[in-house]
C-alpha cells in the first residue's frame, strides 16, 4: 500500500479520547461511501481475521446500524451505532454501544465523530472517539485480540507517533 499516506493515532487518557487521522488515495465521495454504506463497511470494517456483518443499517439521523464482529471461530460481538448527526460527505456523528444479539444495548457507550476533507485527490478522515469510561475503551479492545508482539523498535516508532 502507499506508505506516504498519513496515519496518526493519539490517546488522551485524561480526556478519555482517542484521535485517529488517516489519508486515503481516493476522492471524498468514495471514501464517504466506504464509511457510510453497509455493504462497503462490511468489506473492511473489522481487522482480519475478524469480519464485520451488518444486520441492518439506516443511515439517517436517529437511525441505527446493528452489526457484529465475527471471530474466525464464529464468535459474534454485536454493537449498535446510532447516528446523531449527518452532514453529507463531510461529517457524521454516532453513539456506539455493545449489545446482545437481540439488539439490547450495554450502556454507556462511546461517541464517535468522523470528519472528511479532500485535497488533490487525497481524502483525509479524522476520527474522534470519546468514551465515558476509559475501562470501556479497554473493553473495546477485547474485540480485537490479535496476536501481537511488541518490540523495542516498534516502541520508538510508537513514541514518535504519540509525540
Amino acid at each position: 500500500m502507499n506508505n506516504d499516506l498519513l496515519f496518526d493515532f493519539n490517546v488522551d487518557k485524561a480526556a478519555k479520547t482517542v484521535y485517529i487521522t488517516r489519508e486515503f488515495n481516493a476522492g471524498q465521495s468514495l471514501v464517504w461511501d466506504a464509511f457510510t454504506n453497509a455493504e462497503l463497511l462490511d468489506q473492511w470494517g473489522a481487522p482480519a481475521p475478524m469480519r464485520a456483518k451488518t444486520k441492518y443499517m439506516n443511515f439517517e439521523v436517529g437511525g441505527r446500524r446493528f452489526y457484529a464482529m465475527i471471530s474466525p471461530d464464529g464468535q459474534e460481538r454485536w454493537s449498535v451505532q446510532e447516528f446523531t448527526s449527518i452532514t453529507p460527505k463531510t461529517n457524521f456523528k454516532m453513539y456506539n454501544a455493545f449489545a446482545d444479539k437481540d439488539e439490547n444495548r450495554e450502556l454507556p457507550g462511546s461517541e464517535w465523530d468522523y470528519n472528511f476533507s479532500e485535497q488533490n485527490g487525497i481524502t483525509k478522515v479524522h476520527i474522534v472517539i470519546f468514551n465515558e469510561s476509559f475501562e470501556r475503551l479497554e473493553k473495546l479492545l477485547e474485540g480485537f485480540k490479535i496476536g501481537f508482539t511488541m518490540t523495542l523498535k516498534n516502541l520508538e516508532e510508537l513514541l514518535t507517533t504519540l509525540s
Binding site: 502507499n2 486515503f24 473492511w44 481487522p47 523495542l152 513514541l159
Partner: protein, 105 residues
C-alpha cells in the same frame, strides 16, 4: 497515590524524556540541560515516571542515573498497540477496497 501510566505518558515532555532514556541513561542534571528545563521541573517529571515504574534509578558513584524500564512500557504499549494495530489493519483493508472500486470504474 500511585501514578497512572496513561497520565504519565500523556505529557509530551515526559514522552520525550522516555524516548531519550530508551537510548541512554541520564542524570537529572543532564536531562535538565537536554530539555532546557529547571532542575525542579525535571524532578517533577522524574517523580511521575518513577512512580509508575517507567524509569528506574541507578546509583553510580555520587550520581543517580535514570534508565528506561522497557518491561513496564511494553505492558502499556501492548495494550495501545493492539488498538492501533486493529485500526491499521482495517485501514489497509480499506485501501485495497478503494483501489478495487476505482479499477472497476
Amino acid at each position: 497515590m500511585k501514578q497512572d501510566i496513561f497520565q504519565a505518558i500523556s505529557d509530551p515532555t515526559r514522552r520525550a524524556i522516555l524516548a531519550l532514556l530508551a537510548i541512554q541513561t541520564l542524570t537529572p542534571n543532564a536531562m535538565a540541560d537536554k530539555f532546557d528545563m529547571s532542575r525542579q521541573a525535571v524532578s517533577k517529571h522524574i517523580k511521575v515516571l518513577h512512580e509508575c515504574e517507567l524509569i528506574k534509578p541507578e546509583q553510580s558513584g555520587r550520581e543517580i542515573y535514570y534508565h528506561f524500564n522497557a518491561k513496564k512500557m511494553q505492558e502499556f504499549d501492548h495494550w495501545l498497540a493492539q488498538f492501533r494495530k486493529s485500526w491499521e489493519t482495517q485501514f489497509n483493508q480499506l485501501d485495497q477496497l478503494l483501489t478495487t472500486i476505482k479499477e472497476q470504474e
